[in-house]
Symmetry: D2
Amino acid sequence: MTRIRLGMVGGGNDAFIGGVHRIASRIDGHYELVAGALSSTPEKAAASAKALGLDPDRSYGSFDEMAQAEAAREDGIQAVSIVTPNHVHFPAAKAFLSRGIHVICDKPLTATFDDAQAMEQAVSASDALFILTHNYTGYPMVRQAQAMIAQGDIGNIRVVQVEYPQDWMTDAVEVEGVKQAEWRTDPARSGAGGAIGDIGTHAYNLASFVTGLTGESLAADLHSFGAGRQLDDNAHIMLRYQGGARGMLWCSQVAPGCENALKLRVFGEKGALEWAQEDPNYLWFTPHGEATRKLTRNGAGATEASTAVSRIPGGHPEGYLEGFANIYTEAAAAIRAVQDGQSRDAVMGKLPGIAAGMEGMAFIRACVASSQKDAVWTRI
Amino acid sequence: MTRIRLGMVGGGNDAFIGGVHRIASRIDGHYELVAGALSSTPEKAAASAKALGLDPDRSYGSFDEMAQAEAAREDGIQAVSIVTPNHVHFPAAKAFLSRGIHVICDKPLTATFDDAQAMEQAVSASDALFILTHNYTGYPMVRQAQAMIAQGDIGNIRVVQVEYPQDWMTDAVEVEGVKQAEWRTDPARSGAGGAIGDIGTHAYNLASFVTGLTGESLAADLHSFGAGRQLDDNAHIMLRYQGGARGMLWCSQVAPGCENALKLRVFGEKGALEWAQEDPNYLWFTPHGEATRKLTRNGAGATEASTAVSRIPGGHPEGYLEGFANIYTEAAAAIRAVQDGQSRDAVMGKLPGIAAGMEGMAFIRACVASSQKDAVWTRI
Amino acid sequence: MTRIRLGMVGGGNDAFIGGVHRIASRIDGHYELVAGALSSTPEKAAASAKALGLDPDRSYGSFDEMAQAEAAREDGIQAVSIVTPNHVHFPAAKAFLSRGIHVICDKPLTATFDDAQAMEQAVSASDALFILTHNYTGYPMVRQAQAMIAQGDIGNIRVVQVEYPQDWMTDAVEVEGVKQAEWRTDPARSGAGGAIGDIGTHAYNLASFVTGLTGESLAADLHSFGAGRQLDDNAHIMLRYQGGARGMLWCSQVAPGCENALKLRVFGEKGALEWAQEDPNYLWFTPHGEATRKLTRNGAGATEASTAVSRIPGGHPEGYLEGFANIYTEAAAAIRAVQDGQSRDAVMGKLPGIAAGMEGMAFIRACVASSQKDAVWTRI
Amino acid sequence: MTRIRLGMVGGGNDAFIGGVHRIASRIDGHYELVAGALSSTPEKAAASAKALGLDPDRSYGSFDEMAQAEAAREDGIQAVSIVTPNHVHFPAAKAFLSRGIHVICDKPLTATFDDAQAMEQAVSASDALFILTHNYTGYPMVRQAQAMIAQGDIGNIRVVQVEYPQDWMTDAVEVEGVKQAEWRTDPARSGAGGAIGDIGTHAYNLASFVTGLTGESLAADLHSFGAGRQLDDNAHIMLRYQGGARGMLWCSQVAPGCENALKLRVFGEKGALEWAQEDPNYLWFTPHGEATRKLTRNGAGATEASTAVSRIPGGHPEGYLEGFANIYTEAAAAIRAVQDGQSRDAVMGKLPGIAAGMEGMAFIRACVASSQKDAVWTRI
């Protein structure tokens, strides 16, 4: 089994998510990072490449340069990870997709809905795979929750409660030099959504992924508590799903004490499920009228859906990086399957792709539109 | 110290809340139950009175009869607990208030807003005390949360998340002979609110009590999942408070695995607090940027506000009945103060009274109105 | 149903456990406190009696005086609660038992083993009931754990882990004027056991009660960390039970962060149970190889053994006082049954009596003997 | 930065710990696995090598063959991971140490104390590094606990409670074909310790690592509950540390509901710390008399000791594999430092080495000796 040759756009030394992608690509040994356009600042790009042990010849000044050069090499990259601020996702992805290089792209899909539609066309026009790292779908117990709901363990779904509070923007950190906060609060780089784009899309995606439900409409109350902040840092959203389920989504970046507290609860006619990202090895299952069970990853109560993406036994906690790595590992399997001649549509399995990306963009668009009209119900 | 002579309206043998009131009245030894109109069914009233050891002469067939007779006795009741379905609250309360007998009444205030206004007048016209048992305000750590917020421990409040899910009406228990469910799903006896009246008012009241904030407007999506159920059994509500705080309130009676899961989280500019009714001896406090603290009732981190209403040391859990008893005990102190000549307005302290009741009714009214107009923002 | 006339020895104003007994006696309305020898200091006795609303004529200067006077009254007390330091338990109990007055006595049984044997004789010589308030056996989920084990839900027991850490004697509080600490660290008033007598006996009793196992031998390492402290404040004990189960017991009063952290875990061939006093409404049950279940008091998974001693539905937490009240309420039923002519042996049910008291004393004796011989295995 | 060339002894396809070592070596990108003697069964060795993408020429039939061949190659391995059953540790380690190849060895050190002493000599005679994967010392919050104790945050230590229960040997799985259980219950391959060797050594090591205390003596009650099982599957141990601290250690493999429940609590004169392996991102800290704090990895309350070995922000859980990877990553730094000419003794930092291994063996020996003499206190 040879490793897939991987490139990376963005992810210079001080970027959080770039490092995550790199670890995720290494955990199961399916990739070898061989090229990068790691920063828009040349010195930083070079320094980052050196720290990662890349061949200096394959450290590029821009994604365009990298796409051209790598496409021309016999041993060029087979896939690329795009881990830039949102507004770069589309042009970068297009450069690689158009050359048949598989793309693994961070979320949300793009900064604007126009870009998203262009991205959809670019994916459609290419034979390469497009994978969006909605990484929370990679957690074993999220997979199990999905499977349990699909097989009817909690009956028809009535209520979906999802929340994703954080606290790191409680103070005005974007004016205090925190780079992560700077671009996330800048509409030019983030798009029209602040917290809803950064984390609300994760929450919405997770709920959709686990329940299998399609959002129909929403009523959103977006707000910015940070002084002078242009984008929302807190969002209260009511949801209606096709088929009649109702939901609530709360995301916030100004909630002290909440580090990364994504949590999903689903209530059906016959039972309920609860999962919290910060304690991801547990899935709480209540068959209505019976005692709540603590299902554990690869332990008691675990089923094939979760054990298939677990590496080690129950009681040996796996976390965020392992869940992220599951996306990369499934992407590797998909890439190999395509290389073996299978059709692109047949290999995606549970991987989030362009459709999930478009749903996220539609969610952001609806949130902004609803909120501007004082939370009127708006189709997603 | 002699005990206050207490009567009870409602609370026959198989009623849940009547038994709770009786225990709450006994815990600290301030009351002696001496009379009752315990059921609208005469045989049941008599049997219940006998089981409670009441003098048969003081077991009455109706609250009117009881009010007249007791008011005429020299050793007549000094206070009465009203623990009937909602539509009886007003007429019963009026009968006693008009005779100068103090009233301790279960919530919500009344079944209809008209009755509520009449109740307000009846209270106003009387010299007797009117106490509404918003019992969750009696928990020690709720009191401490209130005090901490009042003294600025979490700074200006930004976000209020409150929820109160239960699961006991997941199935259509009201048609299966569960009496508690029958009247709660009957508009004639409950009023226009189902879950919002039964438990949503508790959640709304708790949030107001702890934060000191006044609700300004709300957008409500009420829904009934139970087949044929006329009143809401699930409510999603977005809230705006005076001063700019935003909130969410979720209450449900169709959420499997949730027994009585009232939970409040308050996020301010400087920190956050979290309290859960099912684990009431803990208050979680996060000063922004520092580690979360587990404050314990009458233990480490407890302050005067909570120790004053605690009976036993930290680590010896107090629960629902003790919290309820705090309302009764403070009511006893208020009654004695009035008996000693203090003015009615001066003695209520933290006790919920007619104002809290009217706020609850306004909340129900606004929820119903908003939901009927597809969740338009509605003034409370 | 008339109330049982109750007296109390000890329990003056600032005593912790006296107040607990009084609340426990009131919760279910079965007792009326009518007499007391509340303190060995006459002024304090009188003041305490007044605060409790006792008839001054029935506030006595000593238990002897009270026993004589009350036995002579037609409306004299029918039962007495003894809530003094340990060394007074025996003489006080004897004074009432010998006059046919039922005794409800705090634990441990006595300060010395000699006194314990004398107590056994006094109980034997009387017709009155003797109840020892091993109150932790009154918690509903403790009752359920006992019943589940008795019916084989976890199979033959292999391992018993019980612990009871507290932190209130971490500092040398006995020399700082904390009265509770003074007598507990004084061999003359407490007996030979410090932590093991005060809380270790509770832990040992709880384990025996729930498992139904009889302790065979133990190896104990008692230690005193507090400077100048004569009695143990930390004890490590290994246990062997009849039938082959092994156990560990840890009790400590110098464990920061532990308020009253009694916890029992029982592991059998087919499953396990776990219960923690500070969160008493939950019982965690693992059938071997299956997911752990969260059984809740009077809620999902609750059985008759626990619901019979619950007052309110699941999700409405009951706590320490309610568990204590269960002992009082069962004592009331036992007293009435004896009054109705049933034999003393037939009415005790699950109530802890003289036998449990003697087991506790044997446990203390064995701990001290073992520890003095460097933890040699010692028969209990 | 070039990768360290790594070999592996043991770790064929169905081995648990071999896979863990491989992932741990990959996470931070410091190693490249290039050679293996992956199984004593040739076909399995070859199949495992192929699955891992090893050059077939570097898949060896025995560790001896591999040591000879790799030492002779210019591009031979620089380090080797030994992940076999215990009795192979010594001969395998010696083969590589004697050729100057660094050894990363699973614990316990060896099967017998004689082998351990020989291992000590082999390490002493070599210039290569010897690292023992006491992986639990690699968890960030374990590192923080160590640092906090070292700087006096909880004062002088009084009580150490450590436990490590599992449930996977509750049934007689060793006769049901579970390979992991077979060799662990076989004295020839495991040595004299069953649970104490497999997991008890981890618990003992963790307590020593965090507290900095040296065990002085112990009293052990080893027992085997599994029918026909020759080695202990449950151990109750009392401990005395130099300086006066007392401790308890419980390890078990027959405790239903416990997956891998390693837990450490340390109580000092000024405070306490608690850490549980199954929820490893939290460290609970109680300054005596104050509220307990929930310190989070790389989040609120985290200090340099833990952030230095964290990869991602608080709220993004890291787990078992990341903790294990910290050992590998620190080993890589040590190997590079030695390659850069630093002395072997200067580069180990917090890495567990031969000394920790000898302490573990002394612990096993003392446990067995004490238990054979009915738990007499035995010097470690």
